[in-house]
């Protein structure tokens, strides 16, 4: 079958990719749209480095066919910051050193963002479950838990109006 246009809403923008049906969403994001935040780690859904949000749910973009994303909402790590201001979760990752080499970070951030979108006061266990599909091979997970807790506190404070400015997850 000839390549064809696939339209999807990526980080709030309606974009078209010219993609053959056998291609993955990850490949379309990285190669067609230049969104290289999501990483091609294991290519088999084990490592979580390619996690993006598909209609608000964390998915491994290496295991979604590009045409399966037709007409749907995609959020990648590039869409977290707003007007150059980092999302509280991104800032918390930086402040707590929740990364070392950074390869897993975009996927890790998206899994944590998906968690915070439905739960602004996650327990340690809930955070560990949320990142159980994301492998970090350098720093480990303790700092990530700390970062998510810090970001959650900040988001709660800002939504109750008495904290510093921060954008609540969608």
């Amino acid at each position: 079958m000839a390549d064809r246009d696939i339209q999807m809403n990526v980080n709030g923008l309606a974009l078209k990719v010219n993609s053959g049906p056998g291609r993955t969403l990850l490949s379309a994001l990285r190669e067609d749209l230049g969104l290289i935040g999501a990483k091609d780690g294991c290519s088999q859904g084990d490592c979580g480095a390619c996690v993006v949000l598909l209609d608000g749910q964390a998915v491994n973009s290496c295991m979604v066919l590009a045409p399966q994303a037709q007409g749907r909402d995609i959020l990648t790590v590039e869409g977290l910051a707003e007007n150059g201001v980092l999302h509280p979760l991104q800032r918390a990752f930086g402040e707590t050193w929740a990364f070392q080499c950074g390869f897993c970070t975009p996927g890790m951030l998206m899994s944590c963002y998906a968690l915070l979108s439905s739960n602004d006061e996650p327990s340690r266990e809930e955070i560990l479950t949320a990142i159980s599909g994301n492998f970090c091979r350098c720093t480990g997970y303790q700092a990530v838990v700390k970062a998510v807790q810090q970001a959650a506190a900040e988001i709660r404070a800002s939504s109750s109006g008495d904290g510093e400015q921060g954008r609540a997850p969608a």
Binding site: M1, G20, P21, G22, R23, T24, S43, Q44, G45, D46, G48, V51, L54, Q57, A58, V59, N60, C62, M63, V64, L65, P67, Q68, Q70, S111, A114, T129, A130, S132, G133, N134, F135
Partner: protein, 292 residues
């Protein structure tokens, strides 16, 4: 990866017609968490990918004495479903350690069944609950016990023109309890070394009316240990009886050695884990036992 055509029809009728015309050349894609790997490895080289994501096959409903789960329902959907948690808790327990959230958001109950992996985590609880499945084609639907579906690793009785559309679980009799146990190398993202589910349903006099012991990853297909079930049926539960059933289940297993574990380890763990699962089910039935 091969480059098949991709089509996402709007109705089940259209999908069944396409499947009828294309047969084995058309392969269903749902979550894709298994299929995409096998396409990349050229194990599968379908000419056509048939995605039923636009067809309403994700519904979960409880009607007429049974729970019906659409074949495109994701594991995340099942995990979040309160009625399933109440009525079929062992199914939810099998979803909980399944891979990680990004996979659970995509992987479907139908995919877990049709892939026919001997280690499929959802199959032992579904078989323990006596699940039926519905296979649809343009000539109609047929319903059959899930236990009769598998014929070997990756092999089933599904016909090239059929689509698995629904899983049906009969409501359990009172005084029933089931327990699922998965042994993997870690809590998440692990293919099971052994997985299994046991169910006990008691008669009014407290004896075992129905016992189910379903073993995964220890045979070419998910396996009902029927001789072990027979050890329990009709009897009062004692710790000795549970021991005997667990040993019998282990004898019925026929595991291979592979990268995850040796056959002899699997066989030993089958006895240990069946015993634990039976104890858990028994404990839940309120018949206190101290020897679990």
């Amino acid at each position: 990866m091969s480059t098949p055509q991709y089509v996402a029809p709007e109705s089940l009728e259209d999908a069944l017609r396409i499947k009828s015309e294309s047969g084995a050349d058309a392969r269903l894609v749902a979550g894709g968490t298994d299929l995409i790997l096998r396409m990349r490895d050229r194990v599968f080289t379908p000419k056509l990918l048939l995605d039923l994501r636009r067809v309403p096959l994700t519904a979960i409903s409880c009607t007429a004495g049974e729970m019906r789960i659409g074949s495109y329902a994701t594991l995340s959907q099942i995990l979040a479903h309160d009625e399933i948690a109440n009525l079929f808790p062992a199914l939810v327990e099998a979803c909980r350690p399944f891979a990680g959230p990004p996979i659970r958001n995509r992987a479907t109950i139908g995919g877990n069944i049709v892939n026919a992996s001997p280690a499929a985590d959802l199959v032992p609880p579904l078989m323990a609950y006596d699940a039926n499945i519905v296979l649809s084609s343009i000539s109609g639907d047929r319903e059959l016990p899930l236990a009769e579906f598998f014929t070997g690793p990756g092999q089933t009785v599904i016909e090239p023109d059929e689509i698995l559309t629904e899983v049906r679980l009969p409501l359990m009799p009172p005084d029933s309890a089931a327990s699922f146990i998965k042994l993997g190398q870690r809590r998440s993202m692990a293919i099971s070394i052994v997985n299994l589910c046991t169910r006990l349903s008691l008669a009014a006099d407290g004896t075992v009316a129905t016992a189910r012991i379903v073993l995964g990853a220890v045979a070419p297909t998910p396996l009902r240990a029927v001789a072990a079930e027979a050890v329990l049926a009709g009897n009062d539960i004692t710790t000795a009886l549970l021991d005997e059933a667990a040993q019998q289940a282990s004898r019925e297993s026929m595991p291979i050695s592979d990268v995850r574990a040796s056959g002899s380890y699997r066989k030993r763990m089958t006895a240990v884990l069946v015993r634990r699962a039976l104890s858990a089910a028994w404990g839940e039935l309120g018949r206190n036992n101290s020897n679990g």
